[in-house]
């Protein structure tokens, strides 16, 4: 249970970063791991709560107290087993997860939470180094064929689970490489891509067939899939970006983040990209204060932007949350990412009014300040602050305002699955018939079902969906949920 009095004796100590000046020169990961002994000490801070709130804070419900304890006692291999029992890809979440578990950590009530995320990564990294992570091929094949469409974290997790249950899984990916947003949405400096390749190798050995460059619903028709497979899982993500329909939007130099970020990842991977969008020497404005915006900042800075400005429509959140009213939930508070520290300016409660340009190319951006007031329905409404308009130079504008729903054209339309009010593929997550869409033997998981979310949620849904598919195919399932 960690050390009973560990939390009273040991301070939180977390991984550090390489200095900004060094890390912005390259695209590799810059988080410095802590020695095992330090990680063990950090594990000792875990209080082994009667109710481990971290476990519900964590979308895959990692059994965090157990592996904290095992790390503290030096049983790394067992810790890895426990970690893998709930999470197929801890090396992904250990790097890119915002760690809602730490927000929910009981120590976070009035102290610093346990460094759960770092411990998670330490465990799995050690597992790879030690060669403990090996394929887990099923003892028996079921003879059932499953198609998983989309190779993001949901599709990967779903495929791995189904393969381990003995089904023949084919994973379809429209891009040239497996991984979805993991591959092309998240910059290498956050997560290097060999992690994905390593998992692919494992999954191949477990029996998953990867088919890249196949855009189901476009290059491969849905009815062929339905004919060839006993079950189909839609895990295509939520890729329809939110647009900013203001005057000047048509100017060149204004791009969605997902036009910008993948190109750099391809370059890092060794591909040649013709006409790459580059921030080099430009005044970059990133619109949207979330993680994607942050990734755009970090990438722009590495490319050598002249300046990077980040706008957020919502007001600046408080520096500290009101813990008595927020814990154990994910609180609203000012979050400063490593990219923000690399030289971006941030401005809050700013609405973009128009883009101005020369020669069809954007050169500046005019925005105003807004305030948020309660409307008569009790909701918050945005109001422009009179006379607050201002203009800043902008020769590269990156739109990172989130995604509205999955792309409907293609597989969604082709299959004709029912959608929910928000335009996501409709399926429930609990009870009978969960994860099943309105079309027989078609299931949906991940962002495609729930809308834009975290990698860890995608893994959760992939796993849970796999269990439902297995139960659908076999009558019952022993896959863990």
């Amino acid at each position: 249970m960690g050390k009973i009095t560990g939390f009273m004796e040991i301070a939180r100590k977390d991984r550090g970063y390489e200095p900004v000046t060094e890390r912005i020169k390259v695209y590799r990961e810059f988080v410095r791991a802590l020695p095992d002994a330090d990680m063990g000490q950090q594990g000792a801070r875990c209080m082994d709560c009667g109710i481990p709130f971290c476990q519900t804070g964590c979308p895959v419900n990692n059994v965090i107290p157990d592996w904290n304890d095992l790390v503290y006692r030096g049983h790394w291999r067992q810790a890895l087993d426990v970690l893998h029992s709930t999470n197929n890809f801890p090396e992904f979440t250990g790097r890119v997860c915002p760690a809602p578990c730490e927000a929910a950590c009981t120590l976070n009530i009035n102290n610093d939470p346990v460094a759960i995320k770092s411990i998670e990564q330490a465990i799995v990294d050690k597992g790879w180094i030690e060669g403990w992570i090996q394929p887990e091929a099923p003892a028996r094949k079921t003879g059932k064929m499953v198609a998983v469409i989309g190779s993001g974290p949901a599709g990967l997790a779903c495929s791995q689970q189904l393969a381990r249950a003995g089904h023949a899984v084919t994973l379809f990916e429209k891009s040239d490489r497996i991984g979805g947003l993991l591959r092309y949405g998240i910059p290498d400096f956050k997560m290097e891509k060999h992690h994905i390749d390593r998992r692919m190798a494992q999954m191949k050995a477990e029996g998953v067939t990867f088919r890249t460059g196949v855009h189901v619903g476009v290059t491969l028709k849905a009815k062929e899939i339905l004919a060839d497979f006993d079950a189909v899982v839609l895990a295509g993500g939520s890729e329809k970006p939110r647009d900013l329909p203001v005057p000047g939007r048509e100017l060149s130099g204004i791009h969605y983040a997902m036009e910008f970020l993948p190109q750099q990842n391809k370059v890092v991977a060794g591909d040649k990209v013709a006409g790459q969008i580059l921030a080099t020497g430009r005044h970059v404005v990133v619109i949207g204060g979330g993680d994607t915006g942050s990734d755009c900042i970090g990438t722009s800075i590495r490319q050598g932007a002249k300046s990077v400005m980040n706008f957020e429509l919502l007001p600046k959140p408080p520096d500290q949350e009101d813990k008595p009213l927020t814990w154990p939930y994910w609180p609203l508070k000012l979050r400063t990412s490593s990219s923000h520290d690399e030289g971006a300016q941030r401005d809050f409660a700013v609405a973009t009014k128009r883009f101005e340009g020369e020669g069809g190319k954007v050169t500046s951006l005019t925005a105003c300040r807004v305030e948020w007031v309660k409307d008569e329905k009790g909701g918050m409404a945005m109001k422009e602050v009179a006379g607050s308009e201002f203009t800043i130079p902008a020769d590269l504008v990156l739109l990172a305002m989130g995604y509205v729903h999955p792309v409907h054209e293609g597989i969604v339309a082709d299959l004709g699955v029912e959608k929910d009010a928000r335009g996501n593929v409709k399926a429930t997550t609990d009870g009978k018939g969960c994860y099943a869409t309105s079309v027989a033997k078609v299931f949906a998981a991940g962002d495609m079902r729930r809308g834009q979310s975290l990698v860890v949620w995608a893994i959760r849904e992939g796993r849970q969906c796999a269990r439902e598919v297995d139960a659908f195919l076999m009558g019952s399932s022993d896959l863990p949920r």
Partner: protein, 1550 residues
């Protein structure tokens, strides 16, 4: 079953079988056998003077029963019968049957006919019938209504009956045979038929009478010709108010005060002997006695039946009593070898009838009494110069001039008092037992027949644990990760059962979605009120794990003419080697023991349906085996595999056990269970309780060896097994002791469980006799659970491939067992109460209340009926009124921080609700309101077994005084606050020493029975007449009956707690497996109280995981007036269910004493207030829906409840709540809620007189001195006076000796209770139990009457449990005190001239000087204070319990001389101040002996002082180790501060 006339039939949750009673008992006899009418009148007088030990029901004229047993008055009957022309043969040649006959004439005549027929059949002569004259005028209405026709039948001895004992046997057979015949008639009114006695020596007059009514009702008893040399009298206190004539004592041989805890087992064992028993004396007549004991009889009646069989079978009555209630012999090094051999030999004949018992017995030739092994009932006696002996529950019952008394003594634990009337002398315990032990060569017989398993030859190769497929097998038996981590690991490392905290919020097994071990459907029963639990650690000397495997000798063949080999094990958990020995028993015992292994497994392909036939076959195989001569049956499931599925071992064990009982074969064979399923204490307890004589947990051992390398410390294999066995053994002792059972032998088969969630058909078939209140699953579902586990275990599912199920029973796990407290529920509750958002609260309430997907609680399955037209919300009683019914739970300062504790108090005081101190006192500063008007005073003051901080001042500052009988998380257990948690502040509040550990004993040492409880209620009421006295009980089967008894004991308030209540520290098995949901206990309580017409007198509260308004509404509908909440308000204060309270590491400052952590406490009274208002608002919403405007209208309206429809859950669908929702049909005049006050009869208190006399002292501190006579019926003298002192002057009280009262006579119980500072009680005479209870600064002096010729130091002066929980003050007793002298003394000083067993038990402070012999187990659990014992014979160390203390010599005289004069004030009347830090032992003793002489005039004191140099070295100092350490620390601190030894701050003793 046979229901005595007058008792209602079983209905709802009421079952007449649960009725309990306790009583006052006494006898008077002429030692030389001189018969006189005076003896009879004296018997009646004793009864009268024991009236306060009885009780009345709703009708004050209606008692619980009383009676008297005498010798047959030959002359009287001769003359009476002559009147109707019957000439009786000579005395002894005729017998008299006292017969209760039905009022219905036809039925009556049928009964008469059967008796006459039996007389003829047995070859005896019917002489005639006599109508017993009665005068029913003084009887209550109900007693009259059920009064039988009472007649006596006279039977002459037949020609062949020359031997009187043979004639007595014939009378016995006549009674048994006619009784069976009358039963067989099946008459509707047969319940009225009963034969109180049928003997040629004795006769019993008894009935549904009050004590004084016995003589008034039976006019015979007033007739001068009615003579006897002995009279045995009994006054009953039963838990019910129903008129039953036959349940009155005495029975034919005994009158009993106490309770047999092991009754169910004793009955089973008796029954199981039927086929094997035979008797030379009774011959073929033996067949006529069966059934020996009718089902449903009281424990005393059953005991009497069994004793009767032994006596008829040829045992002298004293011998038979020793067989049934043996003294503790197994662990007694002081017992002589012959006597031990006697007991050991007899142990195999019959298991003890275990429980608190003072049994007075007579067969007309001998009269005597015996006490249970632990001395849990009072029994005092005296002898006069003219050969009268009087034994009674208390002294003072007969007004005999003190000058005539030559001896006053008491019955000691396990000892017997016997008077041989025929030969005219008293047989001392020693003499009696020495003679009996020497009568036969028991040791030789033992040597020839007794084998110890450990002595059998080692089998050489012992099979090693099978580690193949260990994981699969663990899974097949439902092992979880928690079993390994939370249970097995701590046991293996520490040899102790693990401890946890907070309550159990998981669903009961029948509601769980998971496959639960069958063990979890059985809940451990525990003692509350009607009998005491035992402390198995501190009173280990009475506990025994000895078990016999194999056949039992013929009970009625005491002379070993047919030797039967017996196999004994020291404890019942068998190792691999032990098992191998058993398997090969035949070779190593020359065929005496033949074991056969029967598999509990069956082919898995047979599936769920296969289990029933497999069980049937197993039972049949077992029977065959026994019939062919096998005498050790080994049930095993070690062959479990993918192909073989195990029947749950508990099911198989119980099934085989009951099958053999029914076949009458059970005592012919031992039953040993080898199972993979048993791993935690509860599992072993269940197997034992249902018949396993020994258990081999093969898989638990294999698992331990497997996880060895991962343990926190290196332990070798042998040691590992040893520690685990030790932990299980200790746990078993604890489980047994919580029911007050001290031997494994009597626990075995005693079925001390109730089933929750099993259906009656299943239970009756396999667990016959086990109660089950709410139905539930049957064999099919039990099989389903087993088969599911098995399937999962042997499947290759990834889920189970490489790991065990997470469990989640002890800590929340997403993939484990469900919990009511989820992260969301806690977050929503905290957010709502902090922000004041009712909307968020409703989200919380919804999470708790709505259980359609997740079944959690019984009430979750209830549907609340709504009115067709709801009431507008604004017309419903306001929340402000409703919250007054709310209280916070009893959480001690110590278990939670001062901050958390006082926040609750402030909140409840603002609300008008009540907070509870919990055990451990209260800082007087909290009685003073805060500047802002808030108050930290807890309205409810708890009085728990430890009595910590229970001062007079504490008691008078209460609105409610709550006697904690049990606690939901660990009913029947005590507690322990380790020394490191006893901070300066806690020590101050508890009146103890910082750093010294504090032990709360499992029982209140002044409550061993229901009439004791009545006494404590009376005590508390005297101290603070304005406070309500409350009794806290825990839900279990029979709690309703106990609650009825509590109401009759005059409690104003009763709390029914659920098993799921929280705790600061408790063994995990207790948190999980003891007690039942409050829904069941509350419903039973309501039904029983209403049925008894007692409900109106007592306020009913319920608590246990009470969380929402819906919970409150359900509680009200089931019958609660008030509600307790503990966990939820703690959560509001910040608790996040760490379940680490016992580790002192609560990270939110709630349950910790760590100053750094306390700083993190962030709770606010406002939050708590918000919570209670939210709950009340939710209650209002429900009330509106149901159509109730006033809360009180809702109380007891269980007709508004229904089982939720459409429950499809595979297990829960078998539940049936109809018995829970039952409403006894009573007319409208019978209240179903609390409407009136109890009459405590305080107006009779002697204290009114004392208070009046002491007025000048009370008003203006003017000293007063006066005298008063005192009698045993003057109970609790001094408490009211002291309450008045404390109310005016607080704990400090009055100056020394301001009120000085001199009493003369025999004081009743609790003389000088809570006597306040400044009050001196001087008593010339003697006193009963509980003298100086809670002594709070006063002085008590007791010495014998000046005219009494006894030698004081050789006679008893005060009773048992003297100075229990004394805080401070001093006492001097010239004479010997009873058992448990100065138990739990916190700081008082006492001098006494001898003490009984368990002296200074649990003492934490103070000084005790014993100028004479101290009994066994002195200083058990003594953590503080010092005792000085004058050890003249040099054998004290053998009787002292050295677990926590060391014995030190007293320093030399010269040192004392040097220090002389240091305590000059001792010479005066001034208060004695003893400084343990300075350690002037010699001076201290001398000063105290001087004072003893000064106050009591003790000759012994004078002699000691006169020969000081000789006596001083003979004193032994009893020094607790922890206390010594704490004193040393104080001395150091003192030195640091430069203070002196006299520094007030470091005085250990205040």
């Amino acid at each position: 079953m046979e229901i005595p006339a007058g008792l209602p039939r079983a209905q709802g949750l009421y079952d007449p079988r649960r009725e309990r009673d306790a009583c006052g008992v006494g006898f008077v006899a002429h030692i030389k056998g001189k018969k006189s009418h005076d003896i009879v009148s004296n018997g009646l007088t004793i009864l009268n003077n024991l009236t306060h030990r009885g009780a009345t029901g709703a009708d004050p004229l209606h008692g619980d029963g009383a009676g008297i047993l005498v010798q047959i008055p030959d002359a009287f009957f001769r003359e009476e019968m002559a009147k109707q022309g019957v000439k009786l043969p000579k005395a002894g040649a005729y017998g008299v049957g006292m017969v209760f006959l039905p009022q219905n004439p036809a039925a009556r005549s049928a009964c008469v006919r059967e008796i006459e027929r039996a007389i003829a059949n047995e070859g005896q002569v019917l002489l005639g019938w006599r109508e017993v004259p009665v005068d029913p005028t003084s009887l209550g209405h109900t007693a009259k209504g059920t009064m039988p026709v009472i007649r006596q039948v006279f039977v002459g001895a037949g020609r062949d009956q020359l031997d009187r004992d043979a004639f007595e046997r014939k009378l016995y057979i006549i009674r048994k045979a006619s009784g069976h015949a009358i039963r067989a008639l099946g008459l509707a009114t047969a319940g009225q038929f009963y034969v109180p006695s049928f003997s040629h020596r004795t006769i019993v007059y008894k009935g549904m009478l009050l004590a004084h009514q016995v003589g008034e009702f039976f006019t015979d008893l007033r007739d001068k010709r009615f003579v006897s040399a002995l009279a045995l009298a009994h006054q009953r206190f039963s838990t019910n108010t129903f008129p039953t004539w036959d349940l009155a004592h005495p029975f034919r041989f005994i009158a009993h005060n106490g309770e047999i805890n092991t009754l169910q087992g004793n009955l089973n064992w008796i029954r199981s002997r039927q086929a094997t028993i035979h008797s030379k004396l009774l011959g073929p007549d033996l067949d006529k006695i069966w059934p020996l004991i009718y089902e449903g009889q009281s424990d005393s009646a059953s005991f009497d039946n069994a004793l009767e069989l032994l006596v008829m079978g040829g045992y002298p009555i004293a011998h038979a009593m020793m067989l049934m209630i043996p003294e503790a012999w197994a662990g007694n090094p002081l017992m002589d070898a012959k006597r031990r051999a006697f007991y050991e030999y007899h142990a195999a004949l019959m298991e003890p009838w275990d429980g608190p018992a003072a049994v007075a017995f007579t067969d007309g030739k001998f009269i005597g009494a015996t006490l249970d092994r632990n001395g849990l009932r009072p029994a005092r006696y005296f002898i006069t110069e003219d050969d009268l002996i009087v034994m009674s529950s208390e002294m003072g019952v007969l007004d005999i001039p003190q000058s005539k008394i030559v001896k006053k003594w008491r019955l000691q634990p396990g000892k017997m008092l016997l008077v041989d009337i025929e030969h005219g002398h008293i047989v001392s315990d020693d003499e009696l037992k020495r003679d009996l032990a020497a009568e036969r060569p028991y040791q030789d017989w033992l040597d020839r027949t007794q084998l110890r398993l450990e002595d059998l030859p080692s089998p050489g190769a012992v099979p090693t644990p099978d580690t193949d497929k260990l994981l699969d097998r663990q899974q097949a038996f439902g092992y979880t990760q928690e079993d390994l981590k939370m249970l097995l690991t701590p046991m293996a490392v520490a040899g102790e059962e693990p401890v946890g905290s907070m309550g159990d919020d998981t669903p009961v097994a029948v509601l769980s979605n998971r496959s639960k071990p069958l063990y979890t459907y059985f809940r451990q029963l525990f003692a509350q009120v009607t009998n005491p639990p035992i402390d198995p650690i501190r009173e280990q000397l009475v506990m025994s794990l000895v078990s016999f495997i194999g056949p039992r000798p013929n009970l009625l063949s005491p002379d070993s003419t047919e030797p039967v080999m017996r196999l004994e094990v020291a404890q019942p958990i068998l190792t691999f080697e032990d098992m191998e020995k058993l398997r090969r028993a035949s070779e190593s015992t020359s065929g005496h023991f033949v074991s056969e292994i029967l598999s509990m497994c069956y082919p898995s392909e047979w599936g769920v349906e296969g289990m029933e036939p497999a069980l049937a076959r197993l039972c049949a195989d077992a029977e065959d085996a026994v019939r062919k001569g096998v005498n050790i049956i080994i049930l095993t499931d070690r062959d479990t595999s993918a192909e073989l599925v195990p029947i749950p071992a508990l099911l198989a064990t119980a099934a085989v056990h009951h099958h053999l009982v029914r076949a009458g074969l059970r005592t012919r064979s031992g039953l040993v269970v080898e199972t993979g399923s048993a791993r935690e204490v509860h599992h072993f307890a269940c197997l034992a309780g249902f018949g396993a004589e020994a258990i081999h947990p093969n898989l638990a051992f294999a698992t331990l060896l497997d996880i060895k390398d991962g343990l926190p410390q290196m332990v070798d294999d042998k040691e590992l097994v040893k520690r685990y066995i030790k932990a299980i053994g200790k746990g078993l002792l604890k489980v047994m002791s919580k029911m007050g059972i001290s031997t494994y032998q009597s626990y075995c088969g005693a079925q001390i469980f109730e089933a929750v969630g099993l259906n009656t058909k299943f239970v009756e078939k396999y667990f016959t006799g086990t109660p089950s209140a709410i139905e539930g699953i049957g064999l099919a579902q039990v099989a389903e659970e087993a088969v599911r586990l098995h399937r999962q275990a042997y499947s290759d599912a990834p889920l189970y491939r490489d790991r065990l199920d997470p469990g989640g029973d002890y800590a929340y796990r997403i993939r484990g067992e469900a919990h009511v407290w989820t992260p969301d529920a806690i977050a929503k509750l905290q957010h709502s109460t902090r922000s004041g958002s009712f909307a968020t609260y409703k989200e919380y309430a919804k999470l708790i209340n709505e259980q359609s997907e997740r079944l959690m609680t019984l009430r979750g399955l209830f549907e609340i009926r709504c009115a067709p037209t709801p009431v507008p919300l604004e017309e419903v009683e306001s929340a402000k009124e409703i919250v007054k019914r709310f209280a916070t739970g009893a959480m001690s300062l110590g278990s939670i921080s001062h901050e958390a504790h006082s926040t609750l108090a402030i909140a409840m005081n603002r609300l008008g609700g009540k907070s509870n101190t919990g055990e451990g006192g209260e800082d007087p500063i909290r009685y003073v309101p805060l500047p802002n008007g808030d108050s930290m005073r807890s309205a409810i003051k708890q009085v728990a077994a430890g009595r910590f901080g229970v001062t007079t001042e504490y008691l008078v500052n209460a609105d409610d005084l709550q006697i904690k009988m049990a606690q939901g998380a660990k009913p029947g257990e005590g507690g322990q606050l380790p020394g490191h948690k006893v901070s300066r502040y806690i020590a101050k509040v508890r009146h103890t020493v910082p750093g010294v550990g504090l032990i709360s004993p499992p029982p209140h040492h002044d409550i061993y029975s229901i009439e004791d409880l009545a006494q404590l209620i009376h005590d508390l009421k005297n101290v603070n007449p304005a406070a309500r006295v409350s009794v806290k009980l825990v839900s279990e089967i029979g709690v309703g009956t106990v609650a009825a008894g509590v109401a009759k004991a005059k409690a104003d308030h009763v709390t029914i707690s659920g098993f799921d209540g929280g705790t600061g520290a408790s063994p995990l098995s207790s948190i999980k497996h003891a007690g039942s949901p409050w829904e069941i206990g509350l419903a039973e309580t309501q039904q029983t109280l209403v049925l008894n017409k007692l409900r109106s007198r007592i306020c009913v509260q319920t608590d246990g995981q009470m969380k929402t308004g819906r919970d409150v509404v359900i509680g009200a509908l089931l019958g609660a007036d008030e509600f307790g909440f503990a966990t939820a308000p703690l959560v509001v204060e910040g608790c996040i269910m760490m379940r680490k309270c016992h580790l002192n590491t609560c990270p939110v400052g709630v349950a910790t004493q760590d100053p750094e952590l306390i700083k993190k406490f962030a709770g606010k009274p406002e939050h708590v207030i918000n919570y209670f208002f939210f709950v009340a608002e939710e209650v209002r919403e429900w009330m509106a829906k149901m159509g109730f405007r006033r809360f009180e209208d809702m109380v007891g309206r269980s007709d508004m409840l229904d089982m939720r429809r459409g429950v499809e859950h595979w297990k829960a669908k078998g539940l049936d709540f109809s018995r829970l929702f039952y409403r006894p049909p009573v007319d409208e005049t019978v209240a179903i809620r609390w409407t009136e006050r109890q009459d405590h009869c305080l107006d009779k208190a002697l204290d009114h007189h004392l208070v009046e006399k002491a007025r000048p002292a009370l008003d203006s501190k003017r000293p007063v001195q006066f005298e008063s006579a005192i009698f045993n019926r003057n109970r609790t003298v001094g408490a009211m006076l002291s309450g008045e002192v404390a109310r005016r002057y607080g704990h400090a009280g009055l100056p020394e000796d301001t009120v000085h009262v001199k009493f003369k006579g025999t004081a009743g119980q609790t003389f000088g209770g809570w006597l306040a500072h400044g009050v001196t009680f001087e008593l010339e005479g003697d006193a009963n139990d509980y003298v100086g209870k809670g002594l709070c600064g006063g002085r008590i002096v007791v010495y014998p009457s000046k005219d009494c010729p006894i030698v004081p130091e050789e006679n008893i002066i005060v009773g048992n449990t003297v100075m229990y929980g004394a805080i401070t003050g001093e006492a001097y007793f010239r004479g010997v005190a009873g058992e448990r002298f100065a138990v739990r003394n916190s700081g008082a000083t006492a001098v006494v001239e001898g003490v009984g067993d368990h002296g200074c038990e649990y003492m934490t402070g103070g000084t005790v000087v014993v100028l004479g012999k101290a009994g066994r187990n002195f200083a058990a659990g003594m953590s503080g204070g010092i005792a000085y014992v004058l050890d003249e014979e040099g054998d004290f160390s053998q009787r002292c319990n050295l677990a926590m203390v060391e014995l030190e010599p007293i320093p030399e005289e010269d040192r004392i001389a040097a220090d002389a004069g240091a305590n000059v004030e001792l010479e005066t009347h001034g208060k004695v101040a003893i400084d343990h830090v300075a350690g002037d032992d010699g001076a201290t003793i001398k000063a105290l002996v001087q004072r003893h002489l000064l106050f009591t005039g003790s000759e012994r004191a004078r002699r000691i002082l006169e020969n000081w140099a000789t006596y001083l070295p003979r004193f032994v100092k009893v020094m607790p180790l922890e206390y010594r350490r704490a004193l040393a620390e104080m001395a150091q601190e003192q030195a640091r501060r430069g203070g002196t030894a006299k520094g007030a701050e470091v005085r250990a003793n205040d």
